[in-house]
């Protein structure tokens, strides 16, 4: 799941649950998730690094 699609779905779900004030928090979490994924801690099967 891309972060964009996750964020859209999360904001829509939060609004449906009556929690629209979660939106800025979810946007902040999305920024942290971008950083986490960019750190590349998990080796992808397509990764050229040695296993």
């Amino acid at each position: 799941m891309t972060i964009e699609s996750w964020l859209s779905a999360a904001i829509a779900d939060a609004e449906a649950r009556g929690l629209p004030e979660l939106k800025p928090l979810l946007e902040a979490l999305a920024k942290a998730t971008i950083a986490l994924r960019a750190a590349n801690f998990i080796q992808s099967p397509a990764d050229s690094r040695q296993s």
Binding site: A10, L29, L36
Partner: protein, 448 residues
């Protein structure tokens, strides 16, 4: 207020009794708690009973060790049999503990006297103590300011002389942050050292139990009592001359209030003048600490609170409820990425310590913030208070290394500054030996 060490000497010299020191603490609570809101429950009758018992036991020749008859406060996150454990939340309304947490049982065995249960950020999920069902605890140095959090009431109780020491918990800095904000010592032991049973959890993978005290020696005494080893002596200090200290400057020293930076650099100069070797060291993924911590901590906390978030959401303070709800949206794949990052960070901190005795860095990038503020200015930038307060401590909850915050003087505005020492995993006693050696050079004991 006298230290545990000094009280112990005077107690055994028959110059003071446990009843006398306990009454002094209770008087201080009566005088200052309306102003500081440090306590949720004051245990005056129980404290007097335990103090009387401690004096009778000592007179009869039974000495339980250095905590015998010592008045302590306890963060209201620990179960004490027969009392509510509120966690500063209405979610816990009606709760009464049916047994003592193992850490509490160890303190009772050690002869400690509990003067009360202290205020905290609701469920230990915050750094300022503002979100509490019982109102905010306040900083004894300036009651308009936060005492730090989440163990803010605990730190305030010691800084204001309401207890000789206190017990807190630390998931992202909740012992060290309030210790720094209130000008006292705060020890986060190695992950897993002290049992967390009977403590309302925030993160099953990062919660730590430890003491906040006036001195490092007192921290060592309380730490050993928490382990169930109440007769352990204070470890011998290492020699400062030849001590190898490493400063992780990148990330950890990038964003500091000017006064905090000046106090930190002053402490480094004094250590070097006394013969310590101080070198810079790199923790390669330091900038990834926040995203790793956030994904672990949010998801862990959401898992703990899932049932009550659904059943009684209105009983949470709105900010804490929202942060817990945020954790329900962390994807499993990102949690696993964070777990992998955690292993990388552990190895990098281990490597940084391989050629050094300890890391040394500031504890809190800013002095205690004013209550009610959500952002703070550092140099030319505006930063979220919560993010900044966690910045220098949370990495060692992720990695599990022991860390201790020592008071390091005051800002121009007379607010305390803390300096943190980080030791090798599994060697909390080794860290205490280093801290004992460095304490007089780093610390400036702040008076309230």
């Amino acid at each position: 207020m006298m230290t545990i060490e000094e009280f112990g000497r005077r107690l055994r010299a028959r110059e003071i009794t446990s009843e006398q020191i306990t009454e002094a603490c209770l008087r201080q609570i009566e005088a200052d708690n309306p102003r500081l809101n440090a306590f949720i429950t004051v245990m005056a009758d129980d404290a007097r009973r335990r103090a009387r018992q401690a004096d009778q036991e000592l007179a009869a020749g039974r000495d339980r060790g250095p905590l015998h008859g010592v008045p302590l406060s306890i963060k209201d996150l620990f179960d004490i049999r027969g009392l509510p454990t509120t966690a500063a939340s209405h979610v816990r309304d009606g709760h009464i503990a049916d047994r003592d947490a193992p850490a509490i049982a160890h303190l009772i065995q050690a002869g400690a006297v509990f003067v009360g249960k202290t205020n905290l950020h609701e469920f230990a999920f915050g750094t300022t103590n503002e979100d509490s069902a019982f109102g905010p605890a306040r900083n004894p140095h300036d009651p308009a300011r936060s005492p730090g959090g989440s163990s803010g009431g605990s730190a305030a109780s010691v800084a204001a002389g309401m207890a000789l020491a206190t017990i807190g918990t630390d998931t992202g800095g909740s012992i060290r942050i309030p210790a720094a904000a209130c000008g006292i010592v705060g020890l986060k032991p190695t992950l897993g050292d002290v049992p967390t049973g009977g403590v309302v959890p925030l993160s099953h993978t990062m919660d730590h139990v430890g003491p906040l005290t006036q001195t490092v020696a007192d921290a060592a005494l309380v730490y050993h009592a928490l382990l169930g080893d109440p007769h352990a002596p204070i470890p011998a200090p290492m020699r400062v001359a030849g001590l190898r200290l490493a400063v992780p400057r990148a990330y950890f020293c990038d964003l500091l209030d000017d006064d905090v930076r000046a106090r930190f650099e002053g402490a480094l100069e004094r250590l070097q003048s006394a013969g310590a070797h101080v070198a810079d060291v790199d923790i390669h993924h330091a900038a990834d600490i926040m995203p790793i911590y956030l994904h672990l901590q949010l998801a862990d906390a959401a898992a703990c609170h899932a049932a009550t978030l659904d059943e009684m959401p209105e009983r949470y303070t709105p900010p804490v409820r929202l942060r817990l709800e945020m954790g329900r949206y962390v994807l499993a794949e990102d949690y696993v990425r964070a777990l992998a990052g955690r292993e990388v960070l552990k190895r990098e901190v281990d490597a940084a310590l391989a050629q050094h005795d300890a890391l040394v860095l500031p504890t809190l990038p800013i002095p205690a913030p004013l209550l009610g503020t959500s952002t703070v200015r550092i140099g030319s930038s505006t930063q979220p208070v919560r993010t900044v307060m966690l910045r220098l401590t949370q990495g060692f909850n992720v990695s599990g290394h022991p860390a201790i915050s020592l008071p390091a003087g005051l800002t121009a505005g007379r607010l305390p500054v803390g300096v943190q020492l980080v030791g090798c995993r599994g060697q909390t006693d080794g860290l205490l030996r280093i801290a004992l050696a460095c304490e007089a050079l780093i610390s400036f004991k702040s008076q309230v």
